[in-house]
Amino acid sequence: MIDDITRIAAAAPALIAGASSVDELRAVEADLLGKKGELTLLKKGMGGLDPEGRKVAGSALNDARDSIEAVLALRRSDLESAERASMVATEQLDLTELLELPERGSLHLVTQTWDRLVDVFIGMGFTVAEGPEVETDWYNFEALNIPAAHPARGMWDTLYVDLGDPETVLLRTHTSPVQIRVMTDGEPPIYAVMPGRVYRRDTADASHMPVFHQIEGLVVDRNISFADLAGTLEAFTSAYFGGSIHSRLRPPYFPFTEPSAEYDINCVFCEGNGCRTCGQTGWLELGGCGMVHPTVLTNVGLDPEEWSGFAFGFGLDRLALMRHGVDDIREMYTGDVRFLEQFPS
């Protein structure tokens, strides 16, 4: 019996090596170790041996089995690798051979800029308010300390609509009426930004559209000062444009703020060194701001002695154009996909 075991164990490596696929190997394994395999049959014949002979034969059987299994495992692993390699070779793909790219949509540049701005202000503790685009004269002008026939009305070329008495209902010329709504509908403290679409009686050209967008900010609280305004705008400026860009304020005139200020930032193209875009001044004019005029506070029922506040506002479209180097604002509004798809995010 020991001889049979030795013979089988010696012949096994050649049989195993002769298997040329995983399937053939499986058949060889069954012949050697399976239920009807030679070693299994020998094991069944062990019952006729004496205890000592059984012990010796059992040990030899186990050794043979172990050595055969080791050779089998090695061969199996080799055959599997070879088969995977040949399968992989047939599955080769050229990843540049693409027939159709799935299309990705895009957010409008105004939306992208809007979201960016809003996110910065939310980070600074502001909520986001909105209001109607068609407004009454009261919200757009009167409440903002711009009475009828005030020469300052000439600062806005207003589009009126045929509702109510003539020239009483209009397409809002700025986002400032939302300030009035926020102050009328709520109570201080107010920390809000108001992005929105605005309208002017303007002929479209490379830098003007009759419809464009602004974002406006309003803070009303106790002891709010011009220094808070300057600090808030400076914080916003570095957060939005980057740490190397700073802001400055200089006096202009707006009827709804006093003191009023023009809000400039370092030119983002030359970082203040002077270039063509900023007319060699190193500064870009961004928007207007100031302390909310006491008359405006009174108009919404707030006591200017108790409450003070600041407001600021600037155009959104120009920021969008500047970021991407677009030189004609009209491009944003044609709906031309060749333009829209250039700005996936």
Binding site: P102, E103, R104, G105, S106, L107, H108, D115, V118, I122, M124, G125, F126, T127, V128, E133, V134, T136, A149, P151, L159, Y160, V161, D162, L163, G164, P166, T168, L171, P189, Y191, R197, P210, V211, N223, S225, F226, A227, D228, A230, G231, T232, R248, L249, R250, P251, P252, Y253, E258, P259, S260, A261, P294, S308, Y333, T334, G335, D336, V337, L340
Partner: protein, 788 residues
């Protein structure tokens, strides 16, 4: 407003060495410098030459060949486009190598085959005023080859172009700018007293004025100047006027303009001989009253809106504050001038000039408010300017007052100043900031409270905050240190603002681009899109295409698709989130303004829109919304469209654009369409997305195909499946639709795969059989039969 450095220096000793730094101070004071021009600079290389000969260019109609003499007797050929030259003229020549004030370099070059050895210059090319109509003709007695700076006696100067805010009437004059600037720089400011000899006489007996309507005219001051001889102004006056953008005309007109620019007091000169009895009347115009004005136009006035100055016979001889009349105009024969220096009601002049479309340097100043205290000085200054031509100011003056508000005294609290500015400015500092700009500060009984009397040249300043702005301006905005925000408030988006971002995310992921067509439409756009034409219209549109407010996003998006198609871009997918405007609901003033979402997919059919909707509804958690195809919306394909409905509410419309509309708009491709009223859709609670327990036990699939009437919406079949399948149902999906043999006409096969699973056990065949039985039974009840 333009100002010359040399002119400013007549009022305070401004340093001339660094105009840019001076400009920065003006900007910081709110008089923003838009440009700085250095006069007399860049004129090196420009010399006097005499025209020797003029010849036609052999090969160009618009160019002459000019031979000039630089003083050496040689003829030098120049090509010149101007036609105002005659032989013998002395003119400026920019010689070769000269860099012009605008940066252009002069080189020898050929023009159409003829050499040009330099350039003959116009006034504008020399930066001497705006005249570009021809070559600048010089005094013929000048030596030749003389540098132009020497020939013209040009003194180097600096011209600042300032942007003046509407609340700064004082800065509409050279003196006013100088006052503000001197205050900031700590320089002494003074308006020189005119030195003018008066001629014996009595103005009061020669001229008079009667203010009939005191609400029109606050002050009317008259002087008479005799011995007038009309002639050109002295060079220095003409040059200054030209530099500030006014054309010199004659000594009287120029002196009048000069005083307006210098002191900010517009004034008017009448030929006294043409004013019967020297008597004037000031009153509101009568409706329809006419007057021929200085510009030769017969103007019709409006009662109560326009003011007039009339003569003794009550016929108008001038429009108050806007323009003088032709009948009393100064002419060559004028010997005596009646000079008017008045203060007109600013609002009246603003209205009058706006509605007449007549804006002048005078009206611009009157409507901001001029200084009523300066009329006498202005009149004497004008006489002083005319004195060298022999004019003499007649003794005495006539001044009549109308309604003029007294200058207010404003209570200014130091505490309030610092509270509003976030500064720590002392009361003494406030006094030292305000005093140099003419605000008179008095300490009252209270500590740190000033009584500030506003100067007459600052009518814009009427209350404490106005004064605080002045303090801030002169303290310097740049010196107010920003206080970093330390708000304890939290910012966030509102639910609808968050929903908008989700919507955009889904649509962009689906390959759809966001567009923003203008909200304006042309008349007929709505009808072309199959929509009702009622809409809000714009009163004063610039173009017909911008005269109607959209009631739907449909026209804008379809036009954008047409635009893309016309540029060979097919299959465009666009969406828009924007406002639409319907006529106001009854009792409302403002339009019924709503926010809509619209999706337009070119080259796709209605099912594409339905798929987009399904994903949006899933994202937003908008359940219980059905597509109701029983009454297709206007302008959409009748067989392929429906209304999005939740209970009785209409949320939007979905389907495909009507082929007739596509034709009307010239669209080649079919267009899938989805429109949602966000206000309505998002008003009800939505998007809660509750967690459902995921079972650990195996699931089983059950495939069932039903034969269903074609008119029965798949959605109802699915709903029936869902409700009949009971709690074991996890998902149900339609995986096959089949029409044709052996299914009879008018019916189709719908095959659904139901995934079943129990939360607590493995399903048995009985469980699955039970679900199948109840589903088949329920569907049988609505006419759907299980297919073998």
């Amino acid at each position: 407003m333009k100002v010359l450095l040399s002119w400013l220096q007549e009022f305070a000793p401004f340093p001339g060495d660094d105009p840019v730094a001076l400009g920065d101070v003006m900007s910081d004071l709110g008089m923003a410098v838009e440009s700085i021009e250095r006069i007399g600079e860049g004129l090196d290389g420009i010399v006097t030459v005499k025209v020797l000969d003029l010849r036609a260019h052999p090969d160009a109609d618009k160019i002459q060949l000019v031979d000039v003499d630089l003083g050496d007797g040689e003829a030098l050929q120049i090509c010149c486009g101007a036609t105002n030259l005659t032989v013998g003229d002395v003119v400026p020549l920019a010689t070769l190598g000269t860099t012009m004030p605008d940066g252009m370099e002069i080189a020898r070059r050929k023009m159409r085959g003829e050499w040009s050895n330099g350039m003959l210059c116009s006034g504008r090319e020399l930066a001497l005023g705006e005249d570009h109509s021809g070559i600048y003709i010089l005094d013929p007695s000048l030596a030749l080859g003389l540098p132009i700076v020497e020939a013209l006696g040009i003194t180097p100067d600096v011209l600042f172009d300032l942007e003046i805010n509407p609340n700064r009437p004082d800065a509409m004059s050279v003196a006013g700018v100088a006052r503000d600037l001197a205050a900031r720089l700590g320089l002494l400011f003074a308006i020189p007293e005119p030195s003018v000899e008066e001629q014996a006489g009595d103005t009061g007996s020669i001229a008079s004025v009667d203010i009939i309507d005191p609400d029109l005219c606050g002050l009317f001051h008259i002087r008479v100047i005799d011995g007038i001889k009309i002639e050109p102004s002295p060079r220095w006056i003409a040059d200054r006027l030209s530099a500030l953008g006014m054309r010199p005309i004659n000594n009287v007109v120029d002196a009048s303009n000069y005083v307006m620019l210098e002191l900010g007091q517009p004034n008017h000169t009448y030929d006294l001989a043409k004013v019967p009895g020297g008597a004037l009347r000031v009153r509101w115009a009568r409706d329809g009253e006419t007057i021929p004005t200085l510009d030769g136009v017969e103007r019709t006035l409006t009662g109560g809106r326009d003011g007039v100055i009339a003569d003794a016979s009550d016929s108008a001889v001038g429009i108050a504050g806007v323009m003088g009349g032709a009948s009393t105009e100064i002419s060559e024969t004028t010997t005596t001038v009646l000079l008017e220096c008045a203060w007109w009601q600013p609002m009246a002049i603003a209205r009058s000039s706006k509605f007449m479309g007549l804006r002048s340097e005078a009206s611009a100043r009157f409507e901001r408010g001029v200084d009523p205290a300066i009329v006498d000085l202005a009149a004497r200054r004008l006489a002083e300017l005319l004195a060298p031509s022999g004019a003499r100011l007649v003794q005495g003056s006539v001044t009549v007052n109308g309604e003029l508000a007294p200058t207010p005294a404003v209570r200014v609290r130091t505490g309030r100043v610092n509270q509003l500015l976030g500064t720590d400015i002392s009361t003494e500092q406030i006094i030292s900031l305000l005093t140099p700009i003419g605000f008179v500060c008095e300490l009252g009984g209270e500590d740190d409270v000033l009584t500030v009397t506003v100067p007459t040249f600052r009518p814009d300043t009427t209350n404490e905050t106005d004064v605080i702005e002045e303090i801030a301006r002169h303290y310097g905005y740049s010196k107010i240190l920003g206080r970093a925000p330390t708000s304890a408030h939290t910012g966030s988006l509102t639910p609808i603002q968050r929903d908008r971002r989700s919507i955009r995310q889904v649509l962009v992921g689906l390959g759809i681009h966001e567009a923003m067509p203008l909200p304006f439409l042309a008349p007929g756009d709505l009808a072309r899109c199959g929509l009702p034409p009622e809409a809000v219209t714009v009163t004063n549109p610039l173009a017909a295409e911008e005269s109607v407010l959209r009631t739907s996003l449909r026209p804008g998006l379809l036009q954008a698709i047409a635009y893309n198609e016309s540029h060979r871009t097919d299959g465009v997918a666009l969406f828009e989130l924007g406002k639409v405007f319907a006529l106001p609901s009854s009792g409302e003033t403002l339009p019924d303004e709503r926010e809509h979402l619209a999706v337009a997919l070119a080259g796709r059919d209605a099912t594409a829109a339905a798929n987009v909707w399904a994903l949006l509804a899933q994202t937003l958690g908008l359940n219980d919304v059905v597509i109701d195809q029983s009454a297709p919306p206007a302008g959409l394909h009748p067989g392929r469209s429906g209304v999005l409905r939740r209970g009785g509410e209409q949320l939007g419309e979905i389907g495909e654009i009507d082929p007739g509309v596509l034709d009307a708009l010239g669209l080649r491709e079919r267009v899938a369409w989805l429109q949602l009223d966000l206000g309505v859709a998002l008003a009800a609670p939505h998007g809660e997305h509750r967690y459902h327990h995921i079972s650990r036990y195996p699931s089983s699939d059950l495939d069932l195909a039903f034969e269903v009437d074609s008119a029965e919406p798949a959605a109802s079949i699915e709903a029936a499946v869902r409700s009949a399948a009971g709690p074991l149902l996890v998902t149900v999906s339609l995986f096959d639709v089949f029409r044709g043999h052996p299914i009879p006409d008018g019916r189709r096969s719908l095959a659904y795969r139901l995934r079943l699973q129990a939360p607590d056990r493995t399903l048995t065949d009985d469980d699955i059989g039970g679900v199948q039985r109840s589903v088949v039974e329920a569907l049988g009840a609505i006419g759907a039969t299980l297919r073998g």
